[in-house]
Amino acid sequence: MADAVIVVALLLVAASATVAVATRDPARQALVLSVLGVVLAVLFTVLQAPDVGLSQLAVGSALTPLLLMLTVRKVRRCGRDEEQKR
C-alpha cells in the first residue's frame, strides 16, 4: 500500500516537473511550480520526511512562485514602459 502511494507521488512529481519545464509562459509556469511544490511536499510526507515536506510546502509552493509572480509583474511593467517610449 505504502509502495503504491510512493509510486503515484513519484510519477506525479515527474509529470508536474515535465509540465513545469514545458510551460513556456512564466506566469503559468509559476502556477505549475506551486503544484510541483505541493506534490513534492506530499511525496516527502509519504517518504516519512514531514520536516522537509513542511518547508517544501512553505518555500516551494508559496515563496518561490510568489517571487516568480512578482518578477513577472515587474517585467511586464518594464515592457509597458518600453512600449510607451516608442
Binding site: 515527474a14 509562459d25 516519512q48 518555500v59 517571487l67 516568480l68 515592457g79
Partner: protein
C-alpha cells in the same frame, strides 16, 4: 513491480534533473529559465530523500513514539534536504533580482536578444 520500485525514485530524480537542464538550455524567457533551475534542484531533493528512505520505517521524530520501538528513516538526508530547500529559495530570489534588472536595462528577458557580451 518491485524490481522497478527499487530504482524508480532515482530514475525520477535523474529525469527531473535532465528535464530541468533541457528547459534551462532551450528557454526563451529568463524567468522561465529560473523556474527550470528550481526544477533541477527539486531533483536533488528527490534523490536525497529517496536514498534515505527505509522500508516500513517511520519519521525520525520521537515525540509520540518510544525511542527504539520502531525503525526510523535516515534523518541526516532530511537535514541536508532542509538546508538545500532554503538554499534553493535564496538562489532563486537572487537570480530573479538579476532578471528584474535585466528587464529594466535591456528591455527584454529573452536570452536570444541579449547581445552585450560576446567574443
Amino acid at each position: 513491480m518491485t524490481a522497478v520500485m527499487h530504482v524508480l525514485p532515482y530514475l525520477v530524480a535523474a529525469w527531473v534533473f535532465l528535464a530541468g537542464c533541457y528547459g534551462l538550455a532551450t528557454s526563451r524567457n529568463l524567468i522561465h529559465a529560473v523556474g527550470c533551475l528550481s526544477v533541477c534542484q527539486a531533483a536533488t531533493y528527490v534523490l536525497l530523500l529517496g536514498v534515505g528512505y527505509r522500508k516500513d520505517a517511520t519519521a525520525p521524530v520521537f515525540s509520540d513514539i518510544r525511542p527504539g520501538s520502531r525503525p526510523v528513516v535516515d534523518p541526516v538526508v532530511q537535514a541536508l534536504t532542509l538546508t538545500d530547500v532554503v538554499v534553493g529559495a535564496t538562489v532563486t530570489a537572487l537570480l530573479l533580482a538579476l532578471v528584474v534588472q535585466i528587464a529594466k536595462r535591456h528591455g527584454t528577458v529573452d536570452p536570444d536578444e541579449l547581445s552585450e557580451l560576446r567574443g
